[in-house]
Symmetry: C2
């Protein structure tokens, strides 16, 4: 039977009315996008936003009077103050003529005015013009000088790419690396879910290597070798190893010996090292310090100058905490010229990263110096923030270790505690009934009862049969006590209900 | 013969020293990245940057004393001034306490101070905190109000996603649409190469539809139908149609009838309409005006509310020209809830777009109003910029039409002229010898002789056997005369040499 075209169209129209012909549906959208997961901003966060709105609208029915977002490393939202020098410079570069206005002399420090003049002279077209796709050259020079001071080895501004935060830099790197699903990227378990999400979106395979919780989240080459062997047995080509140091969500800081072993491993196995070093300023543990993979690699001498390294940094963390600015950079070390060109091209498709984010990178890597008008205040702000973060980390870890069935490794660095919580079978059962992971259930209950937002371990990956939650160490010091008090009370009640 | 493991390792090390085991090489990098092309920032631009450096260093050997970048719509680099109100607000939101400082009253307009206070009240944590992944709600409300004023139909702030310029929004959309190489996207020829580059990177297929140069770059449904038919005959699934209106690089403005036909076509063929409307403020031709696809679609009534539309806008164009800010938005119209969730997730992997770019979107869509202190100055700046752009467009088009073998359609809108240049066979031969497209050769010669940077038509796509170049209309009015004079002289000499 032939159906006339007009009837066919009518049928199509009818079908379209029920959306069955729509293109962007669950069935028809790119499945790689569908599969990607990003728990740091998942359903828990959406519910917490709902609660925030209800509270703002005067809703008194909730068992708490405020939402405390401990789900994300977002310091300014929890009252951390911006570094004043950096912000003064941003204001000055944005208003034409402001650097020379007499009234400005009373509002801004002379070194901020001088820096703003320097940037205005060195940014063709100012903050409103597209810049070089790799970023403003003057800022890349500031970054290069910083790398030389930090590591003792000079850096080439041409190998530095300024980006809208570290996240797009990681994503571009994974895009360059992943050709198809047979390409594997080694990522830690637990890991910051940017990696799992970006690997999924790019259609590659994540191969997890486990950090050893019983040894302070240690990273071992034995475990890396196991992961590579398994991946290869499954027909995968291992292309890169992602290392987060200091760790997110786990907070551990690697030793130099460990880093050397990792570099040797990358050389032996011909894989690119992706060094996520965005928490390099955030080290709190006694006897620990941050050493960049770049420095360790260069210290190992010429024999290792075939190890391909991409390192990432950001203005969002450290004591700067300028998350909303979206500023960061990556440095390409021992990467072929052809690949560098490809990175340039990928970035040029987006034209450039935002200029103020770039300037923030410049100020982070080239802050006020001794003798500058802003220096004392800069040091005071830096030391206050880092000192307070350290106290809060210790306080929270200690408190979590007091909870029934909970153990929590020391936060050596970064901005998080990652506690293991041993949930009673009845709680696991209750979670199953709701179709939730047991730790997601625990965290959702915590939110519902206390207004505290933490992220379940299942969002980061964890050893089968263990459950965790990640909390930032960012609530202001007075609020930390409140977080602890509420968590203790919630946890006790939860255990009583499900024990 | 078995080779001992230690020798194998030695061989590997030797090989690695010559990089044959490196991962990120031409042979081994993701081929989709390698294939992507983005001419707006290609080798021509790199050479022009070299020239700029040489001139800055006092090099007198070049036949010109400055580089004039007509390759990219980057108004501020060519002395277009930023809208003062917008910049004042940016300065005020960045320095804590500045809105209340007595000295600030002399430096900033009261409506700028009021707007800054509004933003500070409505951005939790200020400009330094991550915001909602879809963007600050208060700004999305400003955009929604703008859409309602512009189109006469209310908009839901929840359907508006603030992005780092329009480019990442287009890329996210293509990422959601393209599942594999059998998925095709219709894009105009000539087209802005963001589309070809992003389609290549996402592994899809670009199916070109030709704009009719002989009819002022008209877009016809007949040609769309031809392209779809051909794509389907090749086994492709056509997923979306990208329309740039006003056109880039071609400058044409669609009529409402044309837009209606396009919408009907999308409905009939079940394809998503991607409306790139970043030049909506840039319409110069008599009798032409911008009407959004959103308005046309809604005017067509309920029978068309199954047509999936994603529209894009940006602060980089119009008369704002804030390219370096990286601010833009997309609106999802008639898109399923599931797909909206997926867009939210894709954006949340990058946490959020930069907050100041978002605020710039807010100010672009909610500028000073009659009665506000900044209103008169705002109108003056707007009218000066748009009036001047119009004069420059006319001047350049007229001049190009005087050149031997060159024809150039009217720039009805956007920021470009796109002239066809009929190159003599000897020039085509000379280009071939250098391994260049003939128009790339012509543009490189123009750069070498005049310092003027334009982009060859081959970077945008063009009908086989025709050659073009795109020039922006952005040089300041006095420089336009210089551009014309130099181009006339260069073109005559070029034709003399190769005729």
């Amino acid at each position: 039977m032939r159906v006339p075209a007009s009837s066919l169209r009518w049928l199509r129209r009818q079908a379209a009315a029920t959306r069955s012909f729509a293109v962007l549906t669950r069935e028809s959208i790119n499945p790689r996008v569908l599969q990607a997961e990003y728990a740091v901003r998942g359903p828990l966060v959406l519910r917490s936003l709902e609660y925030t709105k209800r509270l703002a609208n005067g809703d008194k029915s909730l068992p708490f009077d405020k939402v405390i977002p401990c789900n994300i490393g977002n310091p300014h939202i929890l009252k951390q103050q911006p570094i004043e020098f950096h912000r003064q410079v941003l204001a000055l570069v944005n208003v034409p003529g402001l650097v020379d206005a007499p009234e400005a002399q009373a509002l801004f420090q002379p070194d901020a005015i001088a820096r703003a003049k320097f940037y205005l002279k060195n940014i063709p077209g100012g903050t409103g013009a597209y810049g070089h796709s790799k970023g403003v050259e003057a800022v890349r020079q500031e970054v290069a000088a910083f790398l030389e001071r930090r590591d003792g080895y000079s850096a080439d501004p041409e190998d530095i790419y300024l980006t809208d935060g570290a996240s797009p830099a990681v994503q571009n790197s994974l895009m360059a690396l992943i050709r198809n699903e047979d390409d594997a990227i080694l990522a830690p378990i637990p890991q910051y879910p940017l990696y799992s999400a970006a690997i999924a979106i790019n259609g590659g395979t994540l191969v997890g290597y486990y950090l050893d919780e019983s040894k302070g989240w240690a990273m071992t080459v034995t475990e890396l070798a196991r992961a590579v062997k398994e991946a290869r047995a499954n027909g995968k080509t291992v292309r890169a190893l992602a290392v987060i140091n200091p760790g997110n969500p786990t907070g551990q800081c690697l030793t130099v010996e460990n880093q050397q072993d990792i570099i040797k491993f990358c050389q032996k196995e011909d894989i690119v090292l992706l060094a996520d070093e965005v928490y390099q300023e955030n080290v709190y543990a006694k006897g620990k310090s941050f050493v960049s993979f770049r420095k360790v690699l260069k210290d190992m001498g010429e024999a290792y100058n075939d190890v391909e390294l991409i390192s990432f940094h950001s203005v969002s963390k450290g004591f700067t905490g300028e998350c909303g600015r979206r500023g960061g950079y990556m440095e390409l070390v021992n990467i072929s010229d052809c690949a560098k060109e490809q990175f340039y091209k990928m970035m040029s498709v987006n034209l450039c990263s935002n200029i103020e984010g770039q300037l923030m990178v410049g100020m982070m890597t080239n802050p006020p110096k001794e003798g500058d008008a802003s220096y004392a205040r800069y040091c005071e702000q830096r030391d206050t923030i880092l000192g307070s973060l350290k106290r809060r980390a210790i306080k929270l870890v200690n408190a979590f270790n007091q909870l029934e069935g909970v153990t929590c490794n020391e936060t050596e660095g970064a901005m998080y505690t990652f506690a293991q919580v041993r949930l009673p079978p009845k709680a696991v059962e209750a979670a199953k009934k709701k179709g939730m992971a047991p730790d997601a259930f625990y965290c959702m209950e915590m939110l519902d009862k206390t207004g505290i937002v933490v992220v379940p371990g299942s969002g980061f990956g964890q050893e089968e049969g263990t459950w965790h939650f990640r909390s930032t160490i960012l609530p202001p010091e007075d609020a930390v006590d409140e977080v602890i008090e509420k968590t203790v009370k919630f946890h006790a009640a939860f255990m009583d209900e499900y024990r």
